[in-house]
């Protein structure tokens, strides 16, 4: 018997990405640069998050022409973003043969109450989370991979660090708890009890958890690995830097050898200016993408 779209096949795909870097690209040329630099996957977009931020207005699924162009350009997996709760954008991406869908707060949400029921799809999904409650709700909806939300398009790592530390700390707490304390913890976190029970028993999340949102330098990528990320997403950081090719390679190597500090020093030399970056406190709440999602 042959079964597609099983939990093991969907989660397994993300397991294969571990220790790797997933890069945002907006065309075939960038996708090829990313693949040659050693990216484990690319995220096909119409605009990188910092440009979405600058452009304002409603950000939607990319024009299928761009996604198709990227799908045809590389042999590594191609991911694409759908708006939170946008059933049709997700189905369209699935029909196009995209390898992974990011139900993403970087785009303007289509539904301000409900997320997609991701277990319904054959294609796997990645979702953002700031804490274990959010992470567990996404897992229960069928997400096969998680990532920190961070604050996309800012080049500022502070929010990704906050979210990774929060999730790791909450996991440690759940693992240390006795089982009779879990239901109240589930209530407090807004997390499904069954997911917490699974985490307690396994000692870890049942899916891979990457870092995303604000990674701008090789040292940032290594920091996220140090804090327990399984890999990293780099959005605006690469193709908004002065020398994307060199930058992309440096990020990949720093992610693999995140505890080899001499190597990271070498990698960080002469990379040119990283993207400019934004102080989070200057962003009004309405401008913070991480607050999208429920």
């Amino acid at each position: 018997m042959l079964k597609t779209g099983t939990e093991r096949v969907k989660r397994g795909m993300a397991e294969m990405q571990k220790g790797g870097v997933i890069m945002d690209v907006v065309n075939a040329e960038q996708a090829r640069i990313a693949e040659a630099a050693g990216a484990v996957a690319v995220m096909a977009l119409e605009r990188v998050p910092s440009d979405i931020r600058a452009a304002g207005g409603v950000a939607r699924m990319a024009d299928p022409t761009i996604t198709e162009e990227v799908l045809n350009a590389v042999s590594i997996p191609v991911m694409a973003k759908a708006r939170i709760g946008h059933i049709v954008e997700a189905r369209v991406l699935e029909a196009m043969g995209v390898d992974y869908i990011d139900e993403s707060e970087v785009l303007t949400p289509a539904d301000e109450v409900f997320h997609l029921l991701k277990s319904d799809y054959t294609v796997p999904f990645v979702c953002g989370a700031r804490d274990l409650g959010e992470a567990s709700r996404r897992i229960a909806e069928g997400a096969s991979m998680l990532r920190t939300k961070g604050e996309p398009g800012t080049g500022n790592i502070v929010e990704a660090v906050r979210h990774m530390r929060m999730i790791q700390g909450q996991i440690r707490k759940v693992v240390a708890m006795s089982e009779d304390e879990l239901m109240t913890e589930a209530k407090n976190l807004g997390a499904p009890f069954e997911v917490l029970l699974q985490i307690k028993k396994a000692g870890k999340l049942p899916v891979v958890n990457f870092a995303a949102g604000g990674i701008a330098t090789p040292a940032d990528a290594a920091l996220m690995m140090e804090l327990g990320a399984d890999g990293v997403f780099v959005g605006s950081g690469i193709f908004k830097s002065e020398n994307p090719e060199k930058f992309a390679r440096a990020i990949v190597e720093a992610t693999t050898h995140y505890q080899d500090y001499k190597l990271i020093a070498e990698l960080s030399k002469g990379l040119g200016t990283a993207m400019k970056g934004i102080d989070i406190s200057t962003l009004a709440h309405g401008e913070r993408m991480q607050e999208r999602g429920w």
Partner: protein, 194 residues
């Protein structure tokens, strides 16, 4: 105790480490060339073969890996199988060129076509669940290669001397029979040398 390395440049390293340990050997994650010393065998995990190859080149792993493979057993799964093949369809060059076979990458289609299927693996057993993720398959093999398993007439596991490969992911299930099989290969290779 046997010491088996898992090439840890990228991919499903942790799962292989757990499977090797559950099969009664010591597992070591290998990130640097010098860590190949004193190993009795090596696993090349699933992941992205293009990303792994770039890191293999960057850290000058290619020749040391080929040298290691001259007399030590190697087991490759999915991307690891691609790294071991002598020929890759549609590409002018291959990687470690250990097994006399031609492979096709992403041969079953994209991620939505990834699947689980029951397999019969010669010398390992029946009712084996193969987890195929954007998997390659073996298009053809040379005379020295023993075919261990087929799925719908496509070769998905093979052995040549002290090399073992699978197009699927034994590390994603808790069925350790294939890892136990490899540990036995490592054991007998060590006995021959001793």
């Amino acid at each position: 105790m046997l010491k088996i390395g898992v090439l840890a440049l990228q991919g499903a390293v942790r799962e292989h480490v757990a499977a090797i340990e559950a099969s009664g050997a010591e597992a070591v994650a290998v990130k640097r060339v010098d860590e190949l010393a004193n190993l009795d065998g090596l696993v090349m995990p699933g992941g992205e073969s293009t990303a792994m190859r770039r890191l293999i080149d960057k850290y000058h792993f290619l020749e040391p890996l080929k040298k290691f493979a001259q007399n030590k057993p190697v087991f490759g799964t999915c991307a690891g199988l691609i790294l071991m093949a002598k020929r890759i369809q549609g590409q002018d060059s291959a990687h470690l060129e250990l097994i006399d076979m031609t492979v096709e990458r992403n041969a079953f289609g994209r991620q939505v076509d990834s699947f689980e299927a029951d397999l019969m693996i010669h010398g390992v057993g029946e009712d084996y669940t193969g987890v195929f993720i954007r998997a390659p398959f073996i298009v053809e093999v040379g005379p020295e290669v023993e075919i261990l398993s087929k799925h719908n007439d496509r070769i998905v596991a093979a052995k040549q001397g002290h090399f073992l490969c699978a197009a699927f992911h034994p590390e994603l299930t808790d069925d350790y029979r294939l890892h136990q099989y490899f540990v036995k290969m490592v054991q007998s290779a060590k006995e021959v040398v001793a």
